[in-house]
Amino acid sequence: MAAADAEPEELHPLAGLDRVIHSPARLMVMTNLYVVESAEFIALMNLTGLSWGNLSTHLSKLEEAGYVELEKGFRGKKPYTMVRLTGEGRAAFKAYKEQMQGVLAELPD
C-alpha cells in the first residue's frame, strides 16, 4: 500500500485520540471522576482547580458527549450537584488511556 493511500490514523496515531477528552481541563475532570464513583460539583472544582464557569462549560461538553451525568438534589435546604462518569465515559477514558500509553511508548528516548 502506498503511503498516500494509508489511513491518516495509521500515520498519525495522535489524530485518533478522543478530542472530547484530549483537552487538559476535561482530562483533569475525567481523571478525577474515573478514580471515584461520583463527586459533587464543588469537590471537582477543588480537585481540578477549575473555576465555576470553566468547570460548568467543560462538564456541558462531557455531558453532550454522554461521558458524564449530573444529578441535582438537596441536602437539607442546600442544593448540590453530583457528577459521575457514565459507562460510556468510563470506557472512553480507558480507551484514551490505553491509546496514549501506546503512543508514548512508541516515542524514542
Binding site: E40, F41, G53, M82
Partner: protein, 203 residues
Amino acid sequence: MSDMIDLRDVERRAWTLYFQDGLWDIFLGLMFLGGGLRSLTDNLWFYLLVLAGVLIFILGKRFITLPRLGQIKYSAGRRARTNVVRVVALGAMIVTAVIFTMAVTGADLAGAPVGWIFAIMVPGVFIVMAYMMDFTRLYFYAILIAVFTISSELYGDPAAAWAQIIAGLLPLLVGIVLLVRFLRTYPAVDEETLARSGDNGRS
C-alpha cells in the same frame, strides 16, 4: 501516560483532601489533653474536653468541611480499606470493653499486663489507620500515644499525665493551624452558585 498521570495518586489526593481541615487533629488533641489533665488533677470535668473534641469533629465536618469541599463517593477499593479500619477499631474497642468490664466486676487483673496491652494496641490501631487511610499524620500521633502510654507504665503520674498533655497540645496546635489555612483556602460557596452548578450552556 503512566509517567504523566498516576491514577492512584489522583485518587489518594481526592481522599486526603478531607484531612486538610485539621478536625481529626483537633479531636485527637482534645481527647489526649482531656485525659492528661484529668490524670494530673483528678478532676473528672476535664473529660468535657473529650466531649468537646467529639462535638467539634462532628459539627465541623457537617458545617465547615462538607459545604466547602462537597461530597465524594469513593471507589469500592477505598471503601474496603475504610472497612478494615472500622473492623480494627471495633476489635480494639471490644478488647477495651472486656478489660473494663473485668475491672469493674472485680476480676483479678493483678499481674495482667493491662497497661502494656494498651501501650501496644492503641498505637498499633493508629498505625493501621494511618496506613489504610493514607493519613500520614496519624503515624506521628501513634508515636505520641506510644510515648505517653509507655511513660504511664514506666513512670506513672505525673510524668505520664504531662506526656499526655504535651501529646494533646501538639495535634491541637497542628489542627488549629490546618483549620485556619483550610478556611482561607476553601471559602464557603453561596447557595445560588450551588444551585446553578453544572447549568452552563443549558436553557
